[in-house]
Each structure stands twice: as C-alpha cells, then as structure tokens.
Symmetry: C2
Subunit: 198 residues, 2 copies
DNA sequence: CTCGCATTTCAGAAATTTTTGAAATCCAGG
DNA sequence: CCTGGATTTCAAAAATTTCTGAAATGCGAG
C-alpha cells in the first residue's frame, strides 16, 4: 500500500510525537495509520506502508494491544490478523487516559502514600514528607475527579466540557440554591482526605 | 549533602518516572530533590546529593528552567545560583499542564487543522480527513475546557474537582432551570465548530 | 584589565532504546 | 503427524539519548 502525501504527513507527524509521549516512532506511526485507515490492516500491509521490518510491526502491534488501543479482526478465508482502532474517538481518549493513569500516576501515588506513612527522622524528612503528602492529596483529588467523570456518557461529557468555566457560575448558583433547603455542602478541599491503604 | 533513605527513595522514584514522561532520569531526580528540599540548593549541592557530574546538573537545571519549573534565588554574599520549585503545588500543576499542552498538543492540533484544509484526492484521503477533523474537534473541546478552568482560582478549582460527577446532577438541574427564563442552551457537541485559522 | 569562582558548552563515551533478520514457534488443514 | 503460511522471539546492529570531563565563557571584585 502506497501512502498519499497527506496521509504520509499525518503518519510521520504521529511518529515524531510518539517520542514525546512514551512510545517509539514506529508504534506512533502504526497507530496513526490504523487510525485513518478506512478498514482493518494486516501486519504486512503495515510493513509495506511504513517501510519497516516485519518484526518491528509485530512488536509494535503487541505494544498497542498492551495499551488496549487496537482491536483484532478476522476476515473470512484469511487467517492473517487484521487490526483497527476503536471507531469512537472518545473511546480512544478514555483508553489513553486510563492507561496513562495506570502507568504514570498510580505507581507514584503508591510511593507517595508509602513514604508519607514512615516516621520522619530528621527535620528535612519532616518537610519532605509534608511535601509528599500534599502531592498525594492533590493527585487523589485529580484522580478522584477523573474517576467520576470517566463514567459520564460521551455527550454528557461533551456538554460538561463545552460548559467550561461557566461551571463557576453554576457553582455559585448552586451555593445560593443550596442555602434554601438548609443543607450544608461538604467544603471541598479543607478536610484532610486520609485515604491510606490498610 | 547526604540524603536520608526516605528522600533517596523519593528522588530515585521520580528519576524512574521521569523516563516515562519526556524527561531524563537526572532531570527527574533534580526536580524531586528541589521539590522536597526545605530551602534552595545550588548546583554543587545537587551534584553531591545525586552523584552525577556537574555539567549534567547544569544541563538539567537549564531544561527545568525551560519548563518554567524552577525559580532562581540568590543568597546574600554568595554569587552561586540557588534553585527552588514553586511553593504552591497547584502552581506546579498549572505549569506542567501548560508546558505539556504547548509541546504535546498544540503542534498536533496545528498539523490536524492544516491537513484537514487540504482537498482530498482519493477516497482513502477523504476518510482520513474525516478522522483528522474529528480529532481536531475533540482536541479543541478539551483544550477549550482547559483554557477555561485554568483561570479559576485554586480553591474554586478544588471545589470543582471535588464535585466530580455530581456535576451531572447540576447539569440536569440547570437544564430544568434554563427552561424558565426561556433561553436556549447552545447544545454542546452537535454544531460543527469550524475554527479554522485565517 | 586581571583574578578567581561559577556556569555553560561541547565532543566523545556510555547507556539505553529501537530496529532488524534469522530462527523458533504456532496452528489450521490435509 | 506433516506442511506451509503467519506470527513471535531474540540476539545483535543501529540509532538515539544521556552523561561526562575538559575547555570555554561569564562576570563581579579588586
């Protein structure tokens, strides 16, 4: 398969960006190619389009499968594996967010919690620990929010996003309204969220 | 300066994670060290604490300055440069988000817009272009939201985050309320947001 | 201007990551 | 149990990134 200049540009760009993310150039290119391809591709088609070795394609696809970013398909009377990306682009975003969180955030949160539990021996450690605890709380707040919104349906999510900062107005409105039924709103940041593991 | 085991663990962990992000091990370690240090450090203190070459520290600090992630300080009667991280951890998050957007998102959005404007020559290109346009719109929605919320004060942001999915309830409430004054809400996703550059 | 300390630059060395080709493995038919 | 296409594995080569030491540069004080 011969790529048109336009598709070529796209694929090459994603290859470049791939390195700024944690993936290799080839993996980025493979994904870009599958993403814009109107139908599933097999490993040899990918190899030909990208001009890389067959084994490199195999490894790249394996990595993408590890990221849950590709779907395996089969064509009748053809025992080769064909690959696609999910149709729904929001699904891709969700997967990316989930996997990056798993790899880049969760391990750090574990370490921070762990270190925050130790008894400090020096003044420097006391300070360091305060910093770490602060970081852990921030990550918990962010990931807690993420865990909530990731459950929203796509169009609710889009609605929320397009609302943007106007949410602030709504928060204010809610403040005023919530006075009426006499219910106190839990005050957001202040109470130390001690979510240590057992 | 000799690091305690606890601080050592933290610094080493950040070094490891550094590679999963786009930074080198040393840069990650330098940042971790500055982050937990109760006061500013100079290049030689960092070199000693991390056991790396002086030039490596210099380059690492330069990179961190490029990311806007460190502040330069000066002590009286000492002409060496001392470095700290911003006190406010949310400030750090804001800077990180801003810089990563600039490096990882914006260039892609530019390419996507550019390619989406070209006239497709084949059916494959037509499909690819649709995919790219879809992606561009999604990125615009996400970054538009980000541009909005990044202006919120920290405690408003925290309030918003801790609200999480309960926002959905508020959205529903707003739906109902907005009927009263007779104003139509712009429906979020549906209208094609043609935000091409001139 | 010169000295002395501080920082930066930079070319090469070291380490790490990516890519490859060949061999091994897998597996559906026959 | 063979066969042959398809895929995977893996050790080595290639490419890239990171790190270092030495030399160059910067700069305030005298």
């Amino acid at each position: 398969m011969q790529l048109t200049p336009m598709i070529q540009s796209f694929v090459l760009h994603f290859g470049e960006m791939g390195s700024r993310w944690g993936i290799s150039r080839t993996v980025g290119q493979i994904y870009a190619l599958l993403f814009v391809s109107p139908e599933p591709l097999n490993a040899d088609q990918i190899r030909e389009a990208l001009g890389v070795s067959r084994s490199n394609v195999s490894m790249g696809l394996k990595e993408l499968q590890g990221w849950n970013l590709v779907r395996l398909k089969h064509l009748p009377d053809d025992r080769r594996d064909y690959f696609t990306t999910p149709e729904d682009i929001w699904e891709i975003v969700r997967i990316l967010a989930e996997e990056r969180k798993k790899r880049e955030i969760d391990p750090t949160l574990t370490v921070l919690r762990d270190l925050s539990m130790q008894t400090p021996t020096t003044e420097a450690e006391r300070h360091a620990q305060a910093r770490m605890a602060e970081t852990a709380r921030m990550i918990e707040l962010l990931t807690g929010w993420y865990d909530d919104v990731k459950r929203l349906e796509t169009d609710r999510l889009a609605q929320l996003l397009s609302l943007g900062a106007r949410v602030q107005k709504i928060l204010e409105m809610k403040d005023r309204l919530s006075v009426v039924p006499g219910r106190r709103r839990p005050s957001g940041l202040e109470p130390a969220t001690e979510t240590g593991e057992p």
